[in-house]
């Protein structure tokens, strides 16, 4: 056997249009490319000339699966530029909204996109024939995430209630009570999800990743914190572009982000968990240990279990926020436009999402820069393919292709986000 090519021209069960290609020669990986052919939509270009108040609604449209992440990074960057701080119940409600998106997005990925790889099905609907109870549990759990977003945001996709400074309308305390009842069920279902995923067969593979995530003094990170790594990085969002850079490769409509020393890094659940295990609630920590996870997880195939732990945490945290909620006096902090630059970095379900805006004195956006998590993970995805595929070479082509797909799905890549962002062929030389 000289040359073997494994390729997938349209990767299924990911968000958006991507492909990959791995070329093997004499049992060695010669090249691995993750390619994004999703057409570009040019958000950073048409944001120029818009009002600062429009950024949360416009950037939400980058991604239908994580619109809240875009809204949160946008409002934090704008508030940074305008010099206002959102605290107290408004801050807590934003965290609650983000819990909803994490539950919805992670549960979608765990049950509908990723679990079929482990159990050998084409998708969740086929999987439901033999695993009906699990699929129904997943759908109901996802629904609870959507209910949080619908209550706070007005709807689950592209919520309408988020604005710079807070919300248009905040819920009365009594409206949150029925949600708490649903969340108690969801917390049990999330715990069951951790146990269910922990029982899958995982390839024993690990890499010494550079993890990058937010870290906050007290909380598991959603909206606030410093950007840290396991290699000593510790910076504010305003310093992001001093340490990270994006480059443009011909195969991709997505930019590749790397550390300025050229190294790949990883953002998302694995990084967040490994850098913030001590910030998880006691229940989530215990569930992780019982599922066989160490406080640092270097096996990307176990990311499905880490996602389940994060769903559990999000349910737990949402219940804590609802119990402590006091209705705010006003639904938002008023913000006067002024010239300036603002930076925002929050934890989208798939990892760190960075926004920067430059505003004119009347609040018009002069310049916008957005770096989504999947752009940042592209280099790491390719390195996983290079590093892991050689150890699976005894598999026939179909099984090897499936294994490669699973390897990409470990990242829950969000291709609409990354375009400015990704595609997989396997070529065995």
């Amino acid at each position: 056997m000289a040359r073997r090519t494994i390729k997938v021209d349209y990767l299924a069960r990911v968000e958006g249009e991507g492909a990959f290609k791995v070329v093997l020669r004499n049992g060695k990986v010669e090249n691995a490319e993750f390619r994004i052919f999703e057409p570009p939509r040019f958000f950073e270009a048409f944001l120029r000339g818009r009002a600062f108040t429009e950024a949360p609604d416009i950037t939400a449209r980058i991604c239908g699966i994580c619109p809240v992440a875009y809204q949160m990074s946008a409002v934090h960057a704008m508030e940074n530029a305008l010099g206002i701080t959102v605290a107290g119940p408004l801050r807590a409600l934003r965290r609650l909204l983000y819990c909803g998106e994490w539950i919805e997005s992670h549960t979608l990925h765990i049950y509908m996109l990723h679990a079929p790889d482990f159990l050998g099905y084409s998708g969740a609907i086929e999987m439901a024939r033999a695993h009906g109870e699990a699929v129904r549990r997943g759908l109901m759990l996802k629904q609870v995430g959507n209910e949080i977003m619908t209550l706070l945001g007005g709807r689950e996709i592209h919520p309408i209630n988020v604005r710079v400074g807070g919300f248009y309308r905040t819920p009365p305390k009594r409206d949150l009570a029925p949600l708490a009842e649903r969340l108690k069920w969801a917390r049990d279902a999330a715990l069951e999800t951790v146990r269910w995923t922990a029982g899958f067969d995982f390839p024993e593979r690990a890499r010494d990743y550079t993890f990058v995530a937010l870290r906050h003094a007290e909380e598991y990170p959603f909206n606030e914190g410093r950007i840290v790594s396991n290699r000593g990085l510790d910076i504010t969002a305003a310093q992001y572009e001093d340490y990270f850079e994006e480059s443009h490769l011909p195969r991709s409509n997505a930019l590749h982000a790397r550390l300025k020393d050229g190294k790949a890094y990883l953002v998302g659940p694995l990084a967040r968990y490994s850098l913030n295990f001590d910030r998880l609630s006691p229940l989530a920590q215990q569930a992780a240990r019982d599922a066989g996870l160490e406080p640092v997880c270097n096996n990307p195939y176990r990311s499905i279990v880490v996602r389940a732990v994060e769903v559990l945490y999000a349910c737990d945290e949402a219940l804590r926020i609802i119990a402590a909620y006091e209705e705010p006096e006003r639904p938002f902090v008023a913000a006067e436009p002024r010239a300036g630059v603002g930076f925002g970095a929050t934890e989208a379900p798939r990892g760190l999402l960075y926004h920067r805006y430059r505003l004119e004195s009347d609040g018009t956006i002069q310049e916008a820069r957005i770096v989504p998590p999947t752009s940042q993970n592209q280099a790491s995805i390719e390195e996983d393919l290079v590093n892991f595929v050689e150890s699976f070479l005894d598999l026939p082509d179909d099984a090897l292709r499936q294994r490669c797909e699973q390897t990409v799905r470990n990242y829950d890549p969000c291709i609409s986000c990354a375009t400015h962002f990704l595609r997989l062929d396997i070529n065995r030389g």
Binding site: F43, L139, H158, R169
Partner: protein, 260 residues
């Protein structure tokens, strides 16, 4: 037991978009497994790994046409489909990415990409109906999942979907909302915007921003006069019509009457 082939074959296609409208189908948590019993989900790459094959009874198309390859691909989708239904503002009006239609796309590419020469794109973002005949257009950014279930049910039953074309205002009144424009002077596109969202924004004390696009026979020039009287300047008026349905003719034409 009917054979597998007796079920209508459903396909879901993606063009330039955020994936939110097809996600609406997966967000039908209560109905999804029932839908999967009634139809064969024959092509839906976001949810199922399966090969493209044969013809489809109902194709749901998300996204707009922005590349030469996609302009070709939509013709292939049409050839394979008995019914073709567009879902959402991108497929129905060109989406937010149609803002390029008012600008220079080469300049846009240079702003976003270090090597714009690597990017292949068209100068415009256009709706599916500009390229092939469409059997029904479902509006919204994103679509309403209840309306999506209605559209799928209607096509399976061989009837027209019951999706009213009137203004958001009608639904807003029906909900008993206080008019945000009359009572609070908040600019609102409700009078010219297609219903379907349950008048969500006014229910949350904000003005409608038109994400369902123009209603049938909208009178946008009249609304613009009211909005100007509330103090909106020409630039703000132009921006108001140029968001997620900027390329829909009534909004496009009205936006061209304003601006700096």
């Amino acid at each position: 037991m009917p054979s597998k082939n007796a079920k209508p074959r459903l396909a879901v296609w993606k063009f330039a978009s955020c994936d939110g409208c097809q996600l609406s189908l997966l967000d039908c948590e209560d109905e999804l497994l029932a839908v999967a019993q009634a139809v064969e989900i024959a092509y839906f790459p976001e949810a199922v790994r399966s090969a493209l094959s044969g013809r489809y009874d109902l194709s749901l198309v998300e996204g707009s046409i922005t590349t030469p390859e996609d302009a070709e691909r939509i013709r292939e989708v049409r050839r394979r489909s008995r019914y073709l239904v567009t879902i959402g503002a991108c497929a129905t009006a060109g989406g937010i990415q149609a803002l390029r239609n008012f600008a220079d796309v080469a300049e846009y590419a240079a702003v976003v990409y270090a090597r714009p020469d690597y990017i292949r794109t068209l100068a415009t973002s256009t709706p599916i109906a500009d390229h092939v005949p469409v059997d029904f257009e479902l509006r919204g950014c994103p679509i309403n999942k209840r309306q999506l279930v209605e559209v799928i049910s209607a096509f399976l039953a061989g009837r027209r979907p019951a999706v009213p074309p009137h203004a958001v205002c009608i639904e807003c009144k029906r909900n008993g909302n206080v008019c945000v424009m009359v009572a609070h002077g908040t600019p609102c596109l409700g009078p010219v915007t297609h219903t379907g969202c349950a008048a969500l924004c006014p229910s949350y004390n904000r003005g409608c921003y038109g994400c369902y696009g123009p209603k049938e026979t909208p009178n946008a020039p009249s609304l613009s006069r009211w909005l100007a009287a509330l103090g909106m300047d020409a630039r703000a008026l132009q921006r108001l019509y140029r968001t997620f349905n900027a390329n829909a003719a009534p909004f496009r034409e009205e936006s061209e009457r304003h601006g700096a």
